[in-house]
Symmetry: D4
Subunit: 252 residues, 8 copies
């Protein structure tokens, strides 16, 4: 209800004072424990279930947050969660699952629902597997079909060329690479779909914990590449799913 309508309704008594107040004051989030607020209205506002960043959360807050979702019967995933954190949550909520490689705790009530559109997740080396999995689990959680292409780095560019025709069929492409991260650039030159690039911390020495891969992807000489944080498979999947859903469903 826009504000003009609201005013009219108030004036005409079509809406009670309490309800009008509630609408104007609706916070759209809930206090969970004493230190956290969960933005439940974001689900409506943004169309996707929530995710929780678990790294450096204290145990008490973590459990409270998962319980809040569990009690509402809402899906949620926790990213960058240690196995220890998983076990603490699992002790309270038996429905949660965990991927050691992807470091994700899932409370997913929509696993059986139909997935739409298609996202291609292309990663350069076997060491990038954890990030590739983080993206894959996230994208499925957010409702997309996923095809993963692993170990197709450009040091053997034919492995990538071989798959290009297939990769191009996806709505969006996630390109994951560490070290010099050339994968994103080469791929962008070959396809006409948007690429979301994820630099990884894979490498050593002057890889600077992934900063080199980030800088490389940001400076790509090929158009059609945008970049998220180092090792942020989750974030890439989130945006890819936004785009995928808009394309798959049509929009205008």
């Amino acid at each position: 209800m826009d504000k003009k309508t609201l005013i009219k309704q108030i004036k005409e008594g079509l809406i009670s004072e309490e309800d009008a107040l509630k609408i104007l004051e609706d916070k759209g989030y809930a206090d969970v424990g004493e230190n956290a607020k969960i933005d439940f209205s974001r689900r409506d506002r943004r169309g996707f279930p929530e995710a929780i960043y678990c790294a450096s959360k204290d145990d008490k807050s973590l459990i409270e947050i998962f319980k809040a979702f569990y009690e509402r019967g809402e899906s949620v995933i926790g990213t960058r969660a240690s196995r220890r954190q998983y076990e603490i949550v699992k002790a309270v909520i038996d429905d949660v699952e965990y991927s050691d490689l992807a470091q994700i705790i899932s409370l997913d009530y929509s696993k059986e629902s139909e997935k739409i559109g298609e996202i291609a997740i292309v990663s350069a080396g076997t060491s990038d597997l954890p990030i590739s999995l983080e993206a894959e689990i996230t994208a499925r959680f957010l409702g997309a079909k996923v095809k993963a292409y692993r170990d197709v780095g450009v040091a053997g560019v034919h492995r990538l060329l071989d798959k290009t025709e297939e990769i191009k069929k996806a709505n969006v492409i996630i390109a994951i690479a560490g070290m010099e991260a050339a994968l994103a650039t080469v791929l962008a030159g070959l396809v006409d779909k948007p690429i979301i690039a994820v630099p990884t911390s894979v490498g050593y020495g002057a890889n600077l914990g992934g900063i080199t891969a980030l800088l490389s992807m940001i400076n790509s000489c090929a158009e059609g590449v945008s970049v998220v944080n180092i090792d942020n498979g989750y974030g890439a999947a989130y945006q890819a799913c936004q785009i995928n859903r808009l394309i798959a469903k049509g929009n205008k």
Copy 2:
């Protein structure tokens, strides 16, 4: 034509040896002068006309490249072009136009063609105007409708909140900001459309020529943001147009 079909056709004499060779050897680009190759087949491969990065091109190469497009009657834009470079090209090709603020030379034969979809270009301060214009000119050149929202930085967050409903209607959003670049994050929390963030070099001191804005956007705590290079309005517009076109036309 896939390779299986090709082999069959060769065997059955449905295709001449010369043509078969041409298909297997097709380079998809043309040598222009002695130092440049233009990837004319990219237009077909990627669906967009070409752009030329003019900074640090020598004059001779620059003219040769624009002439190659002009002679084929193809559109092209040159980004990061100085007024001096424009004048040198203009002396040879009268059809080109120039924007001093956006630093773009345009040779655009499609100006009158219909634009589809909509991209919102949101910028934080008046000093970000050149990058906002670079994105705008590029997006129009690539066939999109554009709405620009300028000077809506988060230091006065109500300016942005006021426009949010309107901004959300676009297929894709480009968020442009320098200094601490908080615009991208705040906007991402308010909308459900993908945001391509452009850090700008606007600022001084510890802005590190835009690196601070880049790092800020890359570390956004809000989902749905991916990032391109500092001041890269062109690149953001390119990817936005890829996404916009897929959404506007439908894809699957």
Copy 3:
């Protein structure tokens, strides 16, 4: 006593030679053990009890320092103290208390004294809780009333807008955030009180251990923000208490 008066008093014999010497030579600090000097006169000079930076202190020095305060019946807090360090001190001085999250050892004889003025401590995410607590415990130790607003990051800006009227009532505001640290800027645009911003090391990858948040806050496009070191909740609280006390008590 100013020096002119002192000279007069010496000349007129109103002060003994020993006392005059003591005044001119007063060091204002005490040697504690063989490696530390404690600046007891700073309490008088600056009006606040002392704090000890515990990280990388050797055990022997740490105990000697706490004992020196304990024996004088003076309050002191130790910041960035590990639980192990706490236990070592506790074994000697039973009065000390500890916060695991804030990593503070307290020897506080003024807990029951009246607190004056009000400081608002606003933090972006639940992962910022330890720093928020460090600031809160410090501010109370230094005599201020504190209101804490947690998990009001700008990814859901309405959580912050909701609290703005209340936050504005404080004398000083501490804004705590990691990742892109946009909280400080958005808040500064909404209030008319000074903001002391604390970047945190919360995040990963290109957060560079908090440097990104620091740079973001330093480059804030909104006026009224100054910044302290990464994770320095203590330092922010200290300065906030200086300002709060001046405002609350009046000064001129």
Copy 4:
């Protein structure tokens, strides 16, 4: 008017539909030209007149902005303005004044009004003079009394010790230094007033354009120091004036 009251008034017809709409929709800013928005309501919200960051503004926008203030008879200063920019504005608005060293264009209708409180501006070397002046002009523009202490760097610490008693009398202290920027730390150990530190780009080589001074001030081992951007005399003065006004007027 809070929202509860508003609803009541609408219902009871005490307020017209148009006015209610205006209140709910009040943007608080004005569009100036096509690219700028000026936040005139910020003056009320924050209690200070506006400042414009002139660097990298295009000429047209700059003139439009100054004219908007001039026509309302409101004061404004433009920081980091070149002499050329000043001359362009001066050609249109004769009332503006300029400081070459501070690079500030002033349109100040309050010059004769009484100044309240006191801010001490302490700078380390003669090369820091431009930043010291930027802070001084800003602080006066925002209504404070200013005392400047120049060339009191710690390489000759007695110059600073000599002035300490006088400096301590101010409500707030701005400490300005380049190179190793030790001034802020030494001063903080001597006074009990809040210090806002401004690192400057003065120096060469490993001063990294002021980053070294910034890092040094951020890592000060003395409490009571917070920091603004490199060469940001304006920002330091703004926050100092916020604090000074609260102290001088009293608040609670």
Copy 5:
């Protein structure tokens, strides 16, 4: 002559005292003017004529150095020389030549001599032309045959694949690229010859003046790549010529 032989010869009077002294004291370089020493014996020691780094040389030293070579009839090139420096040298030594793009002053008495072996110089974009030319001129000066492949960057990887068979025939490959510098990695995966990679400063924003390209090349996931300084076409050519000569002539 090894030292054992020398001692024997001295003892047996087969060598004069003066000559023995000269051998033991031979400096292998000549003082040129008061501030420079030229290592003429390096020609013999290393087998290549000399090069002079002209950037930041004062005029007097520059002329003295070129004259020293000219008077001995020895070849020399001056790298990173401005046109102004060339003109100053040209005024004194008419035999010198200059390339504006490569910024090289040549005094080359061996231009007509036979070149041996082959070096492939592969560059990514037309903006890399100056560095490509610096490498080419240097390599010819040092006696190698050169084939240059320009504008074969990986954004259109087919341009590179097309040339791979030909490139592989060289003894050594120089790969020149700016921005994300993926060329070196892709090329290394395709060939079995050593690649010397030259990062260039071509690009903007987060290219960090070429540091990004340097980091990318250093972190190449493909074996067979080593790297020289940003824009150091000369250095790459020097090492390529060392290797090329060893291969072409055979060594063991």
Copy 6:
């Protein structure tokens, strides 16, 4: 078979459709497990057996990869392998060996084959031993003779001068050093052979984990030095072996 011949053979029925398809579709690599692809054709393409980068490989992938080589009877080494990883592989494939210092797992069926050419591996300090060994084991694995010169850093330059004549006899020189890494520069001035420099992470404080050594080597004032990643003894040995083999076998 080149493509022209292939077409002719297809047409003339000299090759079956299946075989023609296989040739055109030959991937040159094998899928190993679900996440890895091994580029077996690279051995033919590049002439060297494979190496596997073990750091951050998950256990399952690691075992699958080694088994794939073992089953084909092909040699392979795994670099940056922990002892734990070695033990996991050893449990499955008894033929593997391990060097704790060099952190290499070897499955080497060519140990007894003749080595050709000679590579000199020169390292600065005893702390550089692990990298020196990584290079040495790799070079032998790839078929070269190796002479190692250890602890000949330039702080006692006579240790290096003493060995220079001997070092110069190698085809290629690998120079390994941490801290200020001056070894590469001094050595390059003394010899006429190509030097591949390996910066190491040996040192502390401002060595920045080896970045200082990397920057130092990249900026060498002596020609004939190219650089690989920090601690990348493997990569240096790989390229050195490429060059050594070309020289030792002759090429043209």
Copy 7:
């Protein structure tokens, strides 16, 4: 006079109240113009005449400072002075002299006085000449004998070895080098005298404006090296002169 004596003298009337006050209040510096303070007592305290850092000084302050010295007949040098600044000072004070390369304005009344001790100034390349001269002029101004060794960089280490015996005779050695700055380390291994190392900004690309040379020198593997700022020939000479004077005169 120590304070105990002073008190006694006051008491006994041996010193007047005014004189006692003067002693206790002696500032040791003079206000020059409105923005500068000159520390004339530093001459006595430190034993050397003053130097003025001219870069970024405004003209008015610069002239006032030189005039203050001129009027007292005291010597002073101005470092990092542009020719323009020199001409402005020269117009007022005819006695000043200038070195274009070293960028020093001198007002030196002690040129004819005897120099004591000896400092060796060793520089790597001809491009380091300006810094070498800055050090040389400073050292002579501060009373030392100087021997300069130029163009003895380690790319031809014999040039340096040749001079080592002579260099070792100095009391202190200043080592000046850019690029990889290996000179300091090699020299430190050869001599037993303290070395003050000056990194220079000579170089390009990854020399990072001299930061690489600075890091290299700071990480020297040879003992006996300490480092000053990039291009700080003045600072190195100052400390060298402190040491030289103490050695030459004897101290204990």
Copy 8:
């Protein structure tokens, strides 16, 4: 014996061929085990006993090195040695001693010999104690008298001013500080003796592991400061001892 004399002696048969060869070939170092060379002649060349950098030494090399000294009855210290390394050496050589805080293994046969001259070691905080001790143990090992001044950081500048007169009496001053490291600058303004500054890694956040302190000291606005690596108490003591010995003994 200089070379001229040597030649004469050879010719005249005053020296045997073997001895002449030994003199010309004297390496001045001994091979220790297979990987280390110890520069025993350095003791004579430089006048100080040796030190061994233990970090990252493998156990076998470490023991061999200490045994080589032990067997010659020569003193040596091992810096940055872990307690574990100490225990391994202790098991073989009972004479060694260890300091846990300073992390130094000592084999010191000169402990009872007379110390000459005086070095002042001034450190800012108790957390700097380990580095202060490393410097102190080293300086005593190298023959100097030491006075240590601890916890005299500039946050309470009176603690430092109190000690200045005493500190000034030393021949050389070592200044040790972390965080903003202002100590070196303030001290340099107060004394006339050379200061060797040691930045420490004490601090957190933007202290960047000591880089901030290093940059601060390098940019000191006070003359007479030179700097060594972060936490390099050993290196500072070494150079201080060089200077101290020259001053104490006299030199010219």
